[in-house]
Symmetry: C2
Subunit: 202 residues, 2 copies
DNA sequence: CGCGCTTTTGACCAAAATCAAGCACTGTGG
DNA sequence: CCACAGTGCTTGATTTTGGTCAAAAGCGCG
């Protein structure tokens, strides 16, 4: 792993349609992958947290199939796509670890497909909060049930296939029931069990 | 590649939640991957055509994260998950080919996320028809603009996050404009350009 | 011929989008 | 230290899209 690059918030880091022979690991900060439809509708494909892997290079697809934008100050570790396959066949252990990473990425994408296709707005918001919050806990962010949370509601909307207005309404239901609270920097979960219930059936 | 297994239509081939140390390639026939929510809502994650790769095993995730069901008579080639990583570090070329496969799977999942999150029903149906039809052509199925098509509208609905009723209405708009026709066995595209336009902005 | 299924169609309903106004933070310059 | 501009958030009224329920029509297939 060689090159380290840093970006301020709201900077476009990689642009869809351009060639790129690099791959990245997030070192610190938040970012997201997204695509735009010709008329401007935006879909956020996933959020990227420290230690996430931006697993694409045009080596395999020709051009970048999505853009990446920073949400906070962001540090990336870049390496050449060629090193990936180099790593792959270096040893059985590293091959397995990499294959596992890809398979887990695919499983996460399937989760998003499930939510977008078959869950209601309330279920989507609740399960989104659960997932991102679990990930943050796993990686050692936050204290207790409070976590750093730099997303605006528009980001959640574009990741969940909703409008910002509807995300606002949905969150205020959750807030009204005393289940979560979200201010601009922090999300805190007051009642995890009811949040799970809300995600599961509401 | 060793074991070959065959299944009649509508058979569940792999069951979500069960362990499985095998991976598969589709030899002939159609199948689909899906998950169910506790209340019975079904989401079809993707359709599987000949030469598709069912890239999961519980070796990497613990248990199967989805179920697989046959649509037609189906033949699968199974191999042990261990062989995958064996293949990976055998040579640079095979490592690259496998990594490329995973990356392309992820890119397809992102396409589905985009459609489900930000496209209207009409756009989803049209772009679905374009995608599956292109895949079929690539793999040498169909003659001219007609392709074999064993899906019921309920399958399309569950893959596109819609209801069967709404899929029926949407297809009948396309049929009314003379763009496509779908009978139970065959789909044929009469006006590809207008289908693309319908997928893109309608 | 008649019994499953699937598709189609219609009438009505519900979830989420749109439009629009007002509010609340936050950072900036006087 | 305060006014205010900008950005995001909230809330209300209304519209749209797609869902639900139900009945009827097609289509294989025994």
């Amino acid at each position: 792993r060689r090159e380290v690059a840093t970006f301020p918030p709201r900077r476009i880091v990689l642009r869809q349609g351009e060639p790129s022979s690099k791959m990245f690991t997030v070192k610190s900060g938040w970012a997201f992958r997204f695509t735009l439809l010709p008329d401007g509708r935006r879909m956020i494909l996933s959020f990227l947290l420290p230690s996430d892997f931006v697993g694409v290079s045009s080596t395999y697809l020709g051009v970048m199939p999505y853009s990446v934008q920073s949400l906070t100050d962001l540090t990336l570790c870049g390496f050449d796509a060629g090193e990936l396959t180099g790593e792959l066949y270096k040893s059985r252990v590293s091959a397995e670890r990499l294959a596992g990473r890809f398979i887990r990425l695919a499983a996460e994408a399937d989760q998003r497909v499930l939510s977008l296709g078959r869950r209601t707005a309330g279920e989507r918001v609740a399960s989104f909060i659960l997932r991102i919050t679990n990930k943050l806990k796993q990686r050692g962010f936050g204290h207790g049930d409070s976590f750093p949370f730099p997303l605006r509601q528009e980001h959640m909307a574009d990741a969940l296939g909703l409008t910002a207005v509807h995300v606002s309404r949905t969150i205020s239901i959750l807030r009204g029931k005393g289940i979560v609270s979200v201010d601009r920097h922090t999300i805190t979960i007051h009642d995890r069990n009811r949040l799970i219930e809300f995600a599961g059936r509401n």
